[in-house]
Amino acid sequence: MPNGGVAQRQFIRFTRLQRILHICMIVSFMSLALTGLTLKFSYTKWAAVLSHLLGGFESAGYIHRSAAVVMFGVFITHLVDLYRLKKKVHGTWRALLLGPSSMLPSRRDLTEFVGTLKWFVGQGERPAYGRWTYWEKFDYFAVFWGIAVIGSTGLTLWFPVFFTRFLPGWFLNVATIIHSDEALLATGFIFTVHFFNTHLRPEKFPMDITVFTGRMPLEELKRDKPREYEALAASGKLEEKMEEAYPPIVVRAIRAFAWAALAVGFSIVLWIIYAMLFAYR
């Protein structure tokens, strides 16, 4: 990465709150995954060891539910933040949801998707992506979907006595399957596809840490989000969005955290593969 010195200015992609939420989500998600998978793969030796390291199944349960509360908190905070964003920046829901920085999928995403596939197979140029690419939007809504599905089923399993006042008992079994398989999907997806697509793409090696620093080099913005760059350059607002890069020590700390999260994530993936392929009963 070209380093123009301490004074180099970078493009602000994420707000401080968004960065905090992402870190909270990492911690919460990792905790949920670790504690939850000990139950799912209870038949492996690893699960028993991990469960004891976590202080037993009850303590693992507390961690799991506390992490779930954090996750709900992240989700709600984000919704509140969206509401603020609408009020301060966009004025109307319509502007927020249909504007150029909307997370909602649009027709252009479909064109970009097809264009990307063509690029993959050497049948065209790389599409000029905007602020959010289609895979970023997919990741974003996967979280919405995940929180809705895993969160709701998790709540029924947390409060089974309450929910069986109006749901049949076997719904708890159904909820268990959904909760557990959707969690498997989430962990599997985040720790492989999301890791690769967003953080570990070879051209960004060793790692894209934009979501932690909130900043990305201008060259990267021009290269990866040309449409956003051009719009900003055209409107002359680019300079407003530029800020000084973090000093190297901060960057190193962030990298250490990110690598730790990656290591945990990959370990979990290996464990899942082992449990599913070699120890499944």
């Binding site: 070209p2 000990t38 139950l39 799912k40 209870s42 038949y43 699960a47 028993a48 469960s51 004891h52 037993g56 199944f57 009850e58 596939l117 690029w119 993959f120 197979v121 140029e125 790389r126 895979w135 399993l157 089974p160 006595v161 069986t164 006042r165 749901l167 049949p168 008992g169 076997w170 708890l172 079994n173 159904v174 268990t176 399957i177 959904i178 398989d181 959707e182 498997l184 999907l185 599997g188 997806f189 492989t192 596809v193 690769f196 697509n197 793409r201 070879p202 051209e203 090696f205 060259e219 021009k222 290269r223 040309p226 009963r281």
Partner: protein, 631 residues
Amino acid sequence: MNTTRAGKTVSLYVDGKKFATSVHGSLGCTGCHVDLEGKELPHETPAKVNCGTCHATEQEQHARSLHGKAVAHGDPLAPRCANCHGNHDIYPVKDSRSAVAPMKVPFVCGQCHREGTPVQRNRAIPQDNILENYSESIHGEALLKKGLSVAPNCATCHTPHLILPHTDPASSIARRNIAATCTKCHSQIEAVHRKIIRGELWEKEANVLPACIDCHQPHKIRNVFYTQGMADADCMRCHADPKLRRASDGQPLYVNVDELSHSSHQTNARNQKVACSQCHSEVNASRVRPCETITHKVDCSSCHDEIGRQYASSTHGQLANKSDPNAPSCKECHGTHGVLGRLDPKSPTFATNIPALCARCHREGQKAAVRYSGRQHEIVANYTESIHGKGLLKSGLTVTATCTSCHTAHRVLPRSNPESSVNVANVPATCGRCHNGIEEQFENSIHAKKAIASGKELPVCNDCHTAHAIRRTDEDKFRLDIMDQCGRCHQEIAKTYFDTYHGKVSRLGYTKTAKCYDCHGAHDVLAVTDPRSRLSRANVAATCQKCHPGATRRFAGYLTHATHHDPRKYPFLFYTFWGMTALLLGTFVVSGVHTLLWLPRAFQMRQELRAAEAEPATTVGTPTSEESSDA
């Protein structure tokens, strides 16, 4: 009226009054003297009266008897009917005027069988001082001094007419008949002679066992025979010598008097002392070495009859019967002269000493263990670590189950034997001896034999609790293992249980979630269709409420043994699972392919970026166009 016979003057007077009152009075003279019927007076000397015309049985018996045979030989000393019964003055036996009234019998017999008579001097009578001894014996004393006419007289044992020597097998006093003879009166004698009477061994194995008269001398019958017969002091004359050894094999024959005096055969609650010759029977006091007539080893069952029979039926006894060198005899466990009761802490059979006692042969590698081919191994080690072993050996609870509590002390039999206390049919009763109430619960459960007639193999106590390694049921290890025990038979149910939250937590090694017995019960487990079951329609909510306060009937609809592999039984779970799996696979396939296709391009981009960095003058602001031109 007189006559002369063989040079002696004999009175021929008949007391008419006496005769008239005698039993034969109504018959008249010619009733017996039949040859005088119709003869003119004075008649000739009448022929000898034949009592047998009326008393045929008695006469036949007399003819077969010692007396009758002597008469037939022409023995002048041989008694005929009249010698005992008299002639014209015969009264009923119960009449005190009778010559053979019970009180008079000793004297009737004593006419001949007393010291100094020709019979006693000239005939082969093995007994001396018969009448004197008898009159001083407990029998004679009762009859003659206390006037108890029911006390036995000579005829009681020897019979009145069929008197035979004891060498004649038909004799009432023959070795094999003596027991029957004595027990005519001593019918309750088994209270003190347990084996001999009730076991009928006296009759069956008279040659092995002592007969009454071996201890109770024939005519001087006392209840303290041994002080008069064989005294311990006689034995100790030789056996007090520590250097005494058997000539044939050098085995020490020393008897430690001190040890003996503290044994339960000498010091016991009933204050009964057992003499040497009571155990070492077959001694003959008339020999210089009374023990030289001993041919058999000590048979404890002479007194310990019931135990002896139990032992004989046990594996130990059966092996001993086959002369197996490994077979333990009584003394292997109980010792010999120093034998102590099982309540004496010094005894090898005291509760806390039993495991070590049995371990001498049953410890791994020892002689009993090496012969064993079953599944129980490390018996002693496992027992020591078990709840029973700890209770007994560490806590000193002498009521705790030890080897003999389950296997019995003397009826030790292998599990395969239906008679064995540890046979599958008997295990509940064996455990139930201590675990009061549990057996009853179990017998009413679905696992009890009577509950199911299917002939399926049903579990008993040890199938879940194990035999020797029994753990505390509140130990985690036990609580977790028990699920696998249930799963040995209930395979499908156990497998699906481990697919649920309860099972998964248990699998992780925690005991707080519901395990088999939390819902189904332990010893009282019943079919869920049984209204008494904890899981019946009426009870299931209450069972769930033990852990889930507020649980309703609907809550209990949770499938505790659910599987998502059975579309018929659990269609919801089946389709949910496969729906989720399809979603999972679909997402991964699409995103996986997407990522894999991306990789070559990403590497290409990386190379281009590196190349661009390497160029000293980078055209800032147009990397994209550069890339495109390269591509």
